[in-house]
C-alpha cells in the first residue's frame, strides 16, 4: 500500500510538533499502527524517508518498545497483568483461563482476528487488581468470568465498556491514533476517578 495524501499530511503535522524531527519517530510508529494495526515494512520505509534515517535506524527503535507489534494483533488486544501483585491476586488464573477459553497462548491471535492476548507488566492500576487492559483501556477488578465474558463480547463485536474510559470500547487501530496524538474527542467520557482513587478523599470527608 502507499499512504494517502491525507495520511502523509498527518505525518507531517506530527513531525511539526517537535523542535527536532527525529523526536517524531514514536508518534509516527503509533500512527503506522493506527493505519495498519502493526509496524509494516511500508511504515518503516515511510518514516525513514520522512525523518532522513535508514530503515535500520527506524527498525531499531520500533523493536525496542513492546507496544509496537511486528505482526497483526486482534481488533481487541487483551493484556492481562501478571506482574507480582495482580498475578497473586488472580491475574495468573485469569490469564490461564482466558488462554484456554480462546485457545491461544501469550502473543496469540484468534483465527477470526478479533482478539489477541498478551501478558502485560504493571499498568499503574494496582489498587484495582486484578487488572486487564483492552486496547490499553482499564478493566478494573476483574475475575475469570468477567474476562471470559469480555472476550466473548469482543468476538461478537459487542465488547463491554472500560471501567475508567469511554462509553464504548474503541478498536486497537482507533486507540493507536490517540497514542499518535490525534484526538478522538472522547476525553469527556467516563468518570473522573474510580472508587479506589477516591479512598482517601472520602475518608477525610468522614473526618477520618
Amino acid at each position: 500500500m502507499s499512504y494517502s495524501t491525507e495520511q502523509v499530511a498527518t505525518m507531517d503535522s506530527i513531525i511539526g510538533r517537535y523542535p527536532r524531527k527525529r523526536s517524531a519517530i514514536m508518534p509516527l510508529l503509533h500512527y503506522v499502527q493506527a493505519i495498519s494495526g502493526y509496524i509494516t515494512t511500508e511504515g518503516i520505509e515511510e518514516i525513514a524517508k520522512k525523518l532522513e534515517l535508514s530503515t535500520a535506524e527506524v527498525t531499531a527503535v520500533s523493536t525496542f518498545y513492546t507496544q509496537y507489534k511486528t505482526a497483526p494483533v486482534g481488533d481487541y488486544h487483551v493484556g492481562v497483568c501478571t506482574n507480582t501483585l495482580c498475578a497473586v491476586m488472580g491475574g495468573d488464573l485469569i490469564f490461564d483461563a482466558v488462554s484456554d477459553h480462546l485457545g491461544i497462548e501469550n502473543d496469540g491471535v484468534t483465527a477470526d482476528g478479533k482478539v489477541s492476548l498478551e501478558r502485560i507488566e504493571c499498568n499503574a492500576a494496582c489498587d484495582y487488581a486484578p487488572v486487564v487492559m483492552v486496547n490499553w483501556e482499564f478493566f478494573d477488578n476483574q475475575t475469570v468470568q468477567s474476562v471470559k465474558d469480555l472476550v466473548d463480547g469482543a468476538r461478537g463485536g459487542n465488547p463491554p465498556a472500560p471501567t475508567r474510559g469511554p462509553k464504548t470500547l474503541r478498536t486497537w487501530k482507533e486507540n493507536s491514533a490517540v497514542l499518535a496524538g490525534l484526538s478522538d474527542g472522547l476525553a469527556g467520557e467516563g468518570p473522573s476517578a474510580g472508587p479506589s482513587t477516591l479512598l482517601g478523599l472520602n475518608l477525610s470527608k468522614e473526618g477520618k
Partner: protein, 434 residues
C-alpha cells in the same frame, strides 16, 4: 483532627474535575498568574525553601534541581515531565492525571518560567489511553484559554507543551533513558556526568521532574511555605499520595502528610483482608527492599524508611498476606526486571537472566542449597555496576526477601517445590472453586 490532607485529590470526586472549568472553579491557574508576576529566581527560591522533594522515587529537592540550570547561557532550556509511571505497585500519577491533568499543566507553567524554558514535554506511558485523552484535552483547553502559547496572561512569557506518548518500556522512567527516547532513539540510559541540568534533551539544560512533584507546586505557590510546612516531617515536608494495593480491605489512594505509618494507613483502609495477617510489603514499589510486620510503625518519609533499610520510593505500598509465597512474588518481579533490562550494560542484561533461572528452579523444586548464596552473589555483582539503577532494583526484593524469609526459600528445597496453594492468595478463590 483528620490525619489526612487532601490537596491534590481534593476535588477528584467532582464529575468535571479534569476539565478547565472544574479546575478553575477551585482557583485553578491563579498560582501560575501569581508566579508569573514574581521574578523567576524568586520562584526557585520559594520552592527550594518549601522543602518540596521529588515524588518520583529519589526524593531530590525540587527547587535545588531547578537551580542547577545555568542562566544567561543563551541556550534553550527544557522542562520534561516524567509521566512514565511503570514501577510495579506504583499507581498515583495515572489516577492524578485522569482526574486532574490541569494541576500538572499549571505546575509546568510555573516551573518552566522559573528555569526559563519555553518548551516543555510530558512523557507519558503509552498503555493508558484514557489518561492520554485527558491530558490532550487539558492542553488544548489551556491553549484556548491563553494559558499556554505566546504571551501567557499578557506577561510576555511563552510556553508550548508537547505531549509525547511512550510505547511500553519501563526503562524510560529512568530520566536519561527517557530523554534518549524523547529524542527518537531506543530508550537506554546515558552515562552521567553530564547530568541533564547541563546536557539533557538535545544536549541542552533540562529539568526532569515527576508528575506529582510538579503537581504539588501550584498549591505551594498559592498557599505559601508556612502552610506547606505544617505538613510532614522536618526533612520531608508536605503532603503526598500513598497508594495501597494488594491484600488490604479497601485498596486505594490516600493523600496524607509525609511521615504517616503503614499501621495508620492500614487502619484507614480497613486493615489487611479479613481473616489474614500481614506478611510483607513494599514501601515504594518493587525496587525498594521489602518490609514486614515489624516495620508497621516506620514513619513513611524519606529518612524514616531509609533508616529502616529501604527507600520511600514512589510510596507504592503493596500489601501481601500470609497466603503469598515469597519465592513466587520475587520470581515474578525478577522476571519483570529481566524483561525490562534495556540490554545496554552486561551485568544487568546477563545477571537478571541468571537470577530468573535460579529462582524459577527454586520455585519448581529443582533448586539446590547453594542457590541462595549464588543469588546473593549475583545481586552483589550487578547492583551498582550499570549505567542506571535497574539492576539495583532487581537486587532489592531478592536480598531483602532472603534476609526475612530464608527458611521459606529453604522449604522449597525440602518440599520439592512451592508449598503454597496459589488459589488461596487470589481475591476470588471461592468463585473459582465453585
Amino acid at each position: 483532627m483528620s490525619k489526612l490532607s487532601p490537596v491534590l485529590s481534593a476535588h477528584w470526586d467532582e464529575p468535571d474535575s479534569f476539565t478547565i472549568a472544574g479546575y478553575k472553579r477551585h482557583g485553578g491557574y491563579n498560582a501560575a498568574i501569581k508566579a508569573l508576576a514574581m521574578q523567576p529566581d524568586e520562584v526557585i527560591t520559594l520552592i527550594k525553601d518549601s522543602g518540596l522533594r521529588g515524588r518520583g522515587g529519589a526524593g531530590f529537592p525540587t527547587g535545588l534541581k531547578w537551580s542547577f540550570i545555568p542562566q544567561g547561557d543563551g541556550k534553550e532550556h527544557y522542562l520534561v515531565i516524567n509521566a512514565d509511571e511503570s514501577e510495579p505497585g506504583t499507581c498515583k500519577d495515572t489516577p492524578l492525571l485522569m482526574a486532574n491533568p490541569h494541576v500538572l499543566l499549571e505546575g509546568m507553567i510555573i516551573a518552566s518560567y522559573a528555569i526559563r524554558a519555553n518548551q516543555a514535554f510530558i512523557y507519558i506511558r503509552g498503555e493508558v489511553v484514557h489518561v492520554v485523552r485527558r491530558v490532550q484535552q487539558a492542553i488544548a483547553e489551556a491553549y484556548s484559554a491563553g494559558l499556554l502559547g505566546k504571551n501567557i496572561g499578557g506577561t510576555g512569557f511563552d510556553l508550548d507543551i508537547i505531549l509525547h506518548v511512550g510505547a511500553g518500556a519501563y526503562i524510560c522512567g529512568e530520566e536519561t533513558a527517557l530523554l534518549d527516547s524523547l529524542e527518537g532513539f531506543r530508550g537506554q540510559p546515558r552515562l552521567r556526568p553530564p547530568f541533564p541540568a547541563i546536557a539533557g534533551l538535545y544536549a541542552r539544560p533540562t529539568v526532569v521532574n515527576n508528575v506529582e512533584s510538579i503537581a504539588s507546586v501550584p498549591a505551594i505557590i498559592a498557599r505559601g511555605n508556612d502552610w506547606f510546612q505544617t505538613m510532614g516531617t522536618e526533612k520531608s515536608r508536605g503532603f503526598t499520595l500513598y497508594s495501597l494495593s494488594g491484600h488490604v480491605t479497601n485498596p486505594g489512594q490516600i493523600e496524607a502528610p509525609l511521615g504517616i505509618t503503614l499501621r495508620e494507613l492500614l487502619e484507614l483502609a480497613g486493615g489487611v483482608r479479613a481473616g489474614h495477617t500481614l506478611k510483607f510489603w513494599t514501601p515504594g514499589g518493587s525496587s525498594t527492599p521489602l518490609f514486614t510486620a515489624e516495620h508497621l510503625d516506620v514513619p513513611l518519609d524519606y529518612e524514616g524508611v531509609a533508616a529502616a533499610g529501604s527507600m520511600l520510593g514512589t510510596k507504592a505500598l503493596q500489601i501481601f498476606d500470609e497466603t503469598t509465597c515469597i519465592v513466587r512474588a520475587v520470581l515474578r518481579w525478577t522476571e519483570f526486571y529481566k524483561h525490562e533490562s534495556c540490554g545496554k550494560c552486561t551485568p544487568c542484561r546477563e545477571g537478571t537472566w541468571w537470577l530468573v533461572q535460579i529462582i524459577r528452579d527454586l520455585e519448581a523444586g529443582k533448586g539446590v542449597p547453594a542457590d541462595l548464596d549464588k543469588l546473593i552473589d549475583i545481586t552483589n555483582n550487578i547492583a551498582g555496576r550499570s549505567f542506571c539503577a535497574l539492576a539495583d532494583g532487581a537486587a532489592s526484593p531478592i536480598i531483602s526477601s532472603i534476609k526475612y524469609f530464608r527458611s521459606e526459600y529453604e522449604a522449597h528445597l525440602t518440599h520439592g517445590g512451592c508449598p503454597f496453594d496459589p488459589m488461596a492468595s487470589t481475591l476470588f478463590s471461592t468463585a473459582v472453586h465453585a
